[in-house]
Every structure is written in C-alpha cells, then in structure tokens.
C-alpha cells in the first residue's frame, strides 16, 4: 500500500487510528503489528512470510545472543544470522542477474530452450534486512538489549510507517518507545503536519515531474535540452519522492509517539560530495558507516586503506539499490571516486573553492550521476550522456515538447525553491509577528488539499524507493 493513495488515506489509516486509539496501552503494539502486516500484505500477501521469517530470525538471534556467554558461540550465531539475512537479500536481489547474465548465456546450451521467470522482489526487502542486521549486530555488541517480547519486536520490525522505504529505523531509536510512548493531541497534530508536508512533496512535486523524466529517459537520442531536463526532473522527482515518503513515515511515527531519525536535510544545497552524503538518505549513510565502514577500519587506517574503504562502501551502497543492471554499481563507484577525489584534494592542500563554485561542481556531479541511477541500462545512460554533450542536437525534441506543460515549469520552480529552502529562510530580512508565524505554520493543510485533489485526479503512483 502507498501512503499517497486513497486506499491508505480513506480506508486503512482511519481504521487503524480508530483501532489504535481504542486499544488499551498493553495492546497498542499488537494493534500496530496486526495493521502493519495487513499493510505489507496488501500488494502481495504471499510475501508476508518473508517479513515474518526475517522477524523470527532476528528476534530469535537476539534472544540467543542474550542468553549465550561463550564468545565463540556468540560470534558463530551472529555470523550465521547475518549470513542468512544477507543471503536472503542477495537471493532476491541478484539471482535474476546471475541467471540472466551468467548462467543462461554462458552455461546453458542455446538449444535447451531454457526460460527463466524473473524473481519478484518482496517490497522493501532491502530496508527490512538492513534493519534486522543492525539489530542482531547491536545486540551482539551490547549496545542494545535483546527484546524479549515477540509482539514488541515484530511491531518494531513491521511498523507500517517505515516498513517499506525507511528511514532505516534502528532498534536503538525506538527501544524505549516500544514500551512507553505518548499518544496525545500535540503529538498527533505535529505528526499530521509532517505527514502532510511529505504528502505534498510526493504528490505535488515528485508525481508531477515523473512523466517528464520518464519521457526524457525514453528517448533513443535525447538532445542536450532533453538530457539535462531529464536529469534535472529526475533528480527533483527522486528527492521529493523519497524525502516525501520519509516525512510521511516520520510524521506517522510521531503521531503514534515514536521519534524516527531524519533522512534528508536539503541535500541539494551541499557544497561537497561528503556534505551531500551527510544530507541525503542519512539513515543509510549512518548504517553504512556503523556496520560497514567502521568495521573495515574506518578512517583510522593507512590513507590508501581509507580510499579503498570509501570505494567499497559506496560500491556496496550502489549494489544495495539493485542489480538488475550494472548501473547502480557504477553509480556507487562514481560516488566513491568523487569522495576519494575530495579527500585527496583536501589532504594535498587544494585551495578551498568559493561556495558557489563548490556548490555548482557538486550539483553537476550529483545530477550527472543520477542519469546512471535512473537509466534502465547502460545503453540508455550512454545515450543520455551523449545528449548532455550535445551529440544529438540541442533544442527540445518534439516528444518532450509535446508533454511539457506550464504545470511542469511551475513545479520545477517550486522544487527549486523547496530544495533550497534553508537558504531562503536564513536570508529572511526580519522575523514575522508571532501570530503570522503560527498561521503560516498551517500551510501543510493547503498542501494536503491540493495533494488529495491531484491523487483523486491522477490516481496513486508508487514511491521510487519501493523498488529497492
């Protein structure tokens, strides 16, 4: 189910809120769990077993680790659990690639008539598995206590507000709130406000720009204008789609008394690639830092090892997004190279660039790299890069000009302002009177109305990060 859909807003969510508010405190987690499982099963009930299986493995491992004292046995149990969880993720993510790119072309004779039915990825599997791994590792490290109650743990694991596309909420973030959390007007009001902001980001900006990005990436020979417009539209679509989802997730969490970590912090105002990664998909960045980069030695090793570690972490980040094409891996490697370059520049005393130039270079890189991320295959990405260099002409193609509407231009302008909002806010000449501030804080109500109207008119569209 999608947050930005009528079935969620007009059916699931009201029923959930009713049941949740009527549930006694002791049964709130059970209500949350039951509704979360329904939420997950909505698209494909058969995949619910994957979620339950991962939950059981992680919960059981946590209990086992809590009871064991022998260090070797604890390590063995942790290793088995991590291998099982990562193996499940690898199975769903990479089997298609291995079969279609290696086994079928090279290992099976052509005349065998071998056909492979593509494995369907259980929705949100990447997020579900990362969460589970972080939990067992944290219990092993002793940074969190193992959760003894299955319902509480399963409710955390399945919590519909963050189940499918993050933010990657670690158990430590909600450990206390799983047993004691407020549910009052103030939290519900504040959570609703944040939810409405996310809904507006997703529906008003991301969904409006989506057809434009799709059209540009569908061109066999995009012109320079098409290719840059496509990269820009997609970059904005992705930000507002994913950040919108995250805001809705955090808002729902807040309504229920949870405090989820932020996932985005105006990444398109970044002046370096490192800053970009401190602002973009922050929970994935911190997950990779804590569970991959630091175990690899982090920044406390020889410089060449730091560069290798950086490349490795970014390559893993790329692979985590998918393996249906090599593009994700290349995208990760590109970001790794950019980070290494930045480090080398700084360590070798490269001059500090003026803010505007640093921002320009960073954004040029980020938006150029999005082409690899969005293109379904290398050939499409290559055609877009050729287009960006003007090898297929310069003006807008007829296909793109046809679908470009005033609505798109207005939305792109809105996206630019919203993406750079912290800069505008800082420059506001004088503070508004209190009453005006309080009234302006209600703007998400207007956003919700517009978003609801657009949803009713267009229908729901899934979030981009659902595919990961």
């Amino acid at each position: 189910m999608v947050f930005a859909s009528l079935e969620f807003l007009t059916l699931f969510f009201p029923l959930f809120l009713l049941a949740y508010s009527l549930s006694p405190k002791a049964l709130k987690n059970l209500t949350l769990l039951a509704f979360s499982w329904v939420f997950y099963a909505w698209w494909s009930p058969s995949f619910l077993w994957v979620l339950i299986g991962v939950t059981l493995v992680a919960w059981g491992t946590g209990l086992g680790l809590a009871r064991m004292e022998d260090a070797r046995r604890r390590k063995l149990l942790l290793t088995l659990s991590v291998v099982a969880l990562a193996g499940l993720l690898a199975f769903y993510k990479y089997t298609n690639l291995i079969v279609l790119e290696i086994i079928q072309p090279y290992l099976i004779p052509q005349d065998r008539g071998f056909t492979w039915e593509r494995l369907i990825l259980p929705i949100g599997i990447s997020f579900i598995v990362l969460q589970a791994i972080s939990y067992v590792v944290d219990v092993y490290r002793g940074t969190v206590k193992a959760e003894r109650g299955f319902v509480a743990y399963a409710a955390y694991k399945a919590m519909f507000s963050q189940l499918i596309a993050g933010p990657i909420v670690r158990y430590s973030h909600v450990e206390h709130e799983l047993h004691e959390r407020p549910f009052d007007v103030r939290h519900v009001g504040a959570g609703l406000r944040y939810f409405m902001i996310g809904l507006s980001m997703k529906v008003i900006i991301a969904d409006t720009l989506a057809p434009l990005a799709d059209a540009c990436f569908a061109l066999p020979q995009p012109t320079m204008a098409d290719a840059w417009l496509g990269a820009f539209a997609y970059g904005m679509q992705l930000l507002f789609d994913f950040a919108g989802y995250s805001a809705m997730a955090i808002g729902i969490g807040q309504m229920l008394g949870f405090r989820f970590p932020e996932n985005f912090d105006a990444p398109y105002i970044s002046r370096s690639i490192q800053e970009f990664w401190r602002r973009w998909h922050m929970t994935l960045g911190s997950w990779l830092r804590d569970y991959v980069y630091i175990p690899l030695g982090g920044s406390r090793v020889a410089p060449w090892r730091i560069y290798v570690n950086l490349m490795l972490v970014m390559a893993i980040s790329g692979l985590w997004h998918g393996a249906d094409s090599i593009n994700f891996l290349l995208w990760g490697v590109l970001h790794g190279l950019a980070m290494v370059t930045q480090r080398l520049w700084e360590q070798n005393g490269g001059p500090k660039l003026p803010a505007l130039i640093a921002w320009g270079i960073t954004m040029l890189f980020v938006f150029t790299a999005w082409v690899l991320f969005r293109a379904p295959d290398l050939a499409t990405a290559w055609a877009m890069y050729q287009g960006q260099l003007g090898l297929h002409g310069f003006g807008l193609s007829e296909e793109v000009a046809l679908i470009l509407r005033p609505m798109h231009a207005l939305t792109m302008l809105l996206a630019l302002v919203a993406a750079s909002w912290p800069l505008w806010r800082e420059r506001r000449a004088m503070p508004l009177p209190r009453m005006a501030q309080d009234t302006l804080a209600l703007w998400p109500l207007l956003g919700m109305l517009i978003a609801t109207a657009l949803m009713s008119s267009r229908g729901a569209s899934p979030f981009l990060y659902f595919q990961f």
Binding site: S5, L6, E7, L9, T10, L11, F13, P14, W42, W43, S44, P45, S46, V185, R186, V188, G189, A190, L192, R193, Y194, M196, I197, M201, P211, A218, A243, A247, I250, Q254, E262, F264, D265, A266, E398, E399, A401, L402, I403, R405, P406, M407, L410, A418, W421, P422, D438, A441, L442, L445, M448, I450, T452, A453, L454, S456, S457, R458, G459, A460
Partner: protein
C-alpha cells in the same frame, strides 16, 4: 525536510486541533463517500473480483480502482482539473490544445516505444488475416482512419506533431497494398471536406465531424463497390437533420472540463441531430435499427473503434452501401477487439460474414502489442 521542520513543535493547541480537524473532516468525507459507493453498488470491481487472486493482491487492486471513482474522489478530481484549466489553460496529460478551442488526443501524438516494429507486426497480422478470411469466403476491406492532427494540421498552432509519426500512414498503406490487401486511403476524402466545410473533425472531439464521417463512408463504399460489392435488394436510407446545437465532445470530458459552466469550457462544436430511416426499395420497410443479420442482403459487418460509433458513421456507410451494415465496432476497441469478436461470432454461427469492413485508427497501429492482436490469426 530538515531536522528543524520535524522538530518545529506546534506551539499552540489550536494548531494541533486545526490539523486534526482538517484531516478528520477529510477522512469523514471520504469515509461517507466510500460507504455511499458501497451501498449504491459503486464498488463494482471489488465485488466482481471477490477473493479470487488474493495471493497476487487482485482484490486490493480492484478496491484501489473503485475508491478512485467514489463520488467524493470524483468530485475533487474534477475540481482539480477545472482549476488547472481556469488558471493555466491546462488540459491535463491526455488532451492537448492546439489553436484556441481545438483539442487533440495525446495518444495520437505520442511516439510509442518500438512504434515502427509494432506497426509492421500489425501489418503482417492484417495480411495473414485477410488471406485466412478469403479462404473462408469473406471479403475484407480495411479503412485506415488518419489522425485528427494529420488532417487538421492548420489547427495545431503551437502544438507540434512529432515528425516520426509522419510516415506511419503511408508506410502501412503501402505494406498492405503491396501484399494485395485492399485498403482505403481516407485522407483525400477528409481533406476535401476540410477544404469545403472548414473541418473534417470536431474541434472538441477525437472523432470526425458529421461531414467527415459522411465523406469517409462514401469513400469506403466506393472502394467496396470497386471490389465487387453490390446489394441484392438495395435499401434506401435517408436522414433528417435538426438545427445545429452546441455539443462538447469527448476531449472536453477527457480533460475533465465537462462539469464547468458552459461559458467557462472550451468552445463547443455546432452539431445537428440526425435521424435516419431505412426503406427497402422493393420488399417494404425495414427498421433503421434492424439487428445485424436481419437484412436480406449479403451481410456486411463493420468492425473497428469509436469512429464507427460516432457522427452516424455506420448509418452513412449503410446509406452509401444501400444496405444495413451490422455495426460491431467497440469504443476503445483498438486494433483487434471488435474483429476478434466478429471472428468468434462467425465461428459460433458457422457461417462466415461475406463482407467485412475493418476501420482501424492510425494511432492504433503503433500502440504496444497485446495478446489479442496475435490471436486474430489463430482463430
């Protein structure tokens, strides 16, 4: 999006209540609308689907579709589209405005993925089908309906028709004629109407105007006669036309503007109402709406799309052929749907229809292929 927004706690309780109140009102409204839709049988797809396909999530998909058509969702969606039109003259993603008041369907301007290959495969299907039908004793005549944006090019103004679409009409025509399949080129007849009457298509409709339909029908009938068609007992079909009245076509509806007050909508077409009557020249009168197969002549079946169901095209065709053609065309039938139904009907009845006129829209040629397209030659 930033930490600050998340932590921006609502300072006053009335703010929290404002959010809760607004959200609650919206939920109550939608809840009531959903209940009404359920009571009035509006959740058709959900009811039809039942629990079948549960493991693949089919009932949930059906419910999602139904919820989008509940009265409140429909009302809100309509207002959104109207606002877009009034504020920006935006006609939504499915309709484009050319010169003022001239609306065009997006689908006929869209360059489809694998467009040329799809058209080539469809040409191959049509050629094989024509041969199969000929073996069964059915004569097939194909009529290719050009895009509105091809014939009414003068009304495109700033709207650009992609140049990749230019060759698709000629290319298909040549392929079929090269294989000996009779195809009617409707362009000369429609261009002549445009020149004479100002337009061969309605401004606010996807389809041809009454004049356009009449000319297209005459061109098809002439081709059928060239192929040897002759009515056994000619039927005289006549019509009377009322004074033209304003009529808003399907593109206004598709743009979601049909709920606006008339003066705020795009300009209407002026269309007379026609009433047809049929008389057999020798054997007495025949009702104008005689069912397919009732007429004593060699049966003529018309298959195709909404073009055959608009602007009295089928009546004009019957008039031009001097027989009552059975109209099996389907709205939204695309390339194959109504032809598939005719073939199935022929098989059931055990007697092939002697004459089949197959109206195909130009845009349907390049649309993504479907299983039903391939199935045409398997029946």
């Amino acid at each position: 999006m930033s930490q600050e927004i998340h932590n921006e706690l609502i300072r006053k309780p009335w703010q929290a209540w404002a959010f809760i109140g607004a959200f609650g009102t919206l939920l109550l409204g939608f809840g009531a609308s959903n209940l009404l839709a359920w009571r009035d049988g509006g959740l058709e797809k959900t009811t039809e689907t039942g629990w079948s396909g549960f493991s693949e999530g089919k009932p949930m998909q059906a419910l999602a579709e139904d919820l989008r058509t509940t009265p409140l969702a429909d009302w809100i969606g309509q207002r959104q589209r109207e606002f877009g039109w009034l504020a920006l003259h935006d006609t939504g993603p499915r309709v484009h405005q050319g010169c003022t008041g001239w609306l065009f369907l997006h689908d006929e301007l869209k360059v489809q993925p694998r467009a040329e290959s799809n058209a080539a495969i469809r040409a191959d299907i049509a050629i094989r089908l024509q041969r199969q039908l000929a073996e069964r004793g059915t004569r097939l005549l194909i009529a290719l309906v050009p895009d509105k944006s091809r014939i009414e090019q003068d009304q495109l103004c700033e709207l650009r028709r992609p140049s990749r679409l230019e060759p698709r009409y000629d290319a298909w025509l040549e392929t079929l004629r090269g294989a000996g399949v009779p195809v009617v080129d409707l362009r000369p007849a429609l261009l002549e109407v445009r020149q004479r009457a100002g337009a061969a298509y309605d401004r606010s409709d996807t389809h041809w105007s009454i004049e356009g339909a009449k000319a297209a029908a005459a061109a098809m009938a002439a081709s059928a006669r060239d192929l040897g068609y002759a009515p056994g007992t000619p039927v005289r079909i006549e019509y009377e036309a009322s004074e033209p009245r304003p009529r808003w076509g399907d593109l206004v509806r598709l743009a979601g503007l049909d709920g606006l007050p008339e003066h705020l909508r795009p300009a209407p077409d002026q269309v007379p109402a026609l009433s047809f009557s049929a008389q057999a020249s020798e054997s007495g009168s025949i009702s104008a709406d005689a069912l397919f197969g009732d007429a004593p002549n060699e049966r003529v079946a018309l298959v195709g799309t909404s073009f055959s169901r608009n602007a009295h095209f089928a009546d004009f065709l019957s008039q031009a052929l001097a027989t009552e053609a059975g109209n099996l065309a389907k709205d939204g039938g695309g390339f194959a749907l109504s032809m598939a139904e005719l073939l199935e009907q022929d098989i059931k009845q055990g007697s092939p229809t002697p004459w089949v006129i197959w109206e195909i829209t130009e845009r349907a040629l390049q649309e993504p292929l479907q299983a039903i397209d391939h199935d045409l030659t398997k029946q």
